[in-house]
Symmetry: C2
Subunit: 181 residues, 2 copies
């Protein structure tokens, strides 16, 4: 199973592609989509959509794992993040990818064992789990972490004998899976 | 000049196409894009993007006029509207359309003379201005109103001798133009 992880952002969106081969995780690709700040908002959203479609066409993932957007108390910030998320989800659905969303804390817990790990810890564990020579940039690292989180969730579901699509919380890998409604 | 007006919404997005031929406004088309509620959020956003691209391909507008999203105090509502707006803006920019946004109150004032007009008044004035046999549904009516508002703004700019891209407020047609940042 090939998993495309996404860390959506209004300025930069990280992506990471990971293969799950039985119990093994194999790094395929990662990067950051960062439309020029000088472009208009609409042009940036278009490029985000177009570039993500190109990533999907290049790597042909089976599923997508998206880190949930954290919406604080600012409607303005929520609108800005929502716009990026709209372009991203439209691109993922254009390829008919199944999409699972994970809270940031669950992604962190899946790769580091702690839901409060900082970005540096996530980077290091992603590097170690995927045997990378150097840690990826933060956005790409978080995206790879989302893909790893999804791979773990799938393995847990398989261990549960496919009795439930929702993996049970387990020690060290408490994963909450929420389908995009 | 052919203008595509858009009234973005999380459930339904209205569109309206109007030609400005000198001082005349000519209705071309209108409709509502309403992806099935039974589909996933991502699938709905993809269909909104795809269907809007199809509308653009069919009618080949020169510019787009988008009614501004009203963001109240709810981050959740802002996120939902932002997602629809992200898919819409990405579609408009994919066709390299110039995009101008108008506050709802300015759109209403441009077609009815009052920024506090209700939807029924907007419907009736849109019908009258475009010589339609029957009033379009609310979403499409608001989208046609945005296109009419943009046509007025262009005419005012032309009357001002092209000295400024921002039309001056005038009696009965006070228009504030805000470029998408």
């Amino acid at each position: 199973m090939r998993i495309l992880g996404i860390d959506p952002g209004s300025g930069a969106t990280g992506f990471g592609v990971v293969d799950r081969l039985g119990d093994r995780l194999v790094h395929v690709a990662h990067g950051t989509l960062r439309p020029a700040r000088s472009a208009s908002l609409a042009a940036r959203l278009h490029r985000l959509h177009r570039d993500l479609c190109a990533v999907i066409a290049q790597h042909a993932p089976d599923v997508a794992a998206v880190e949930q957007v954290f919406v604080a108390n600012s409607p303005r910030a929520a609108l800005v993040l929502g716009q990026a998320r709209g372009a991203i989800l439209a691109a993922l659905a254009s390829a008919e990818l199944g999409i699972t969303e994970y809270a940031a804390s669950h992604v962190k817990r899946a790769v580091t064992g702690s839901g409060r790990a900082d970005k540096r810890q996530v980077q290091l564990m992603v590097s170690r789990l995927l045997a990378l020579d150097s840690p990826p940039a933060h956005d790409a690292s978080d995206a790879l972490a989302a893909a790893i989180c999804h791979a773990h969730a799938g393995r847990l579901a398989a261990l549960a004998g496919g009795r439930s699509a929702r993996p049970r919380p387990t020690r060290g890998a408490r994963l909450v899976v929420r389908r995009v409604p």
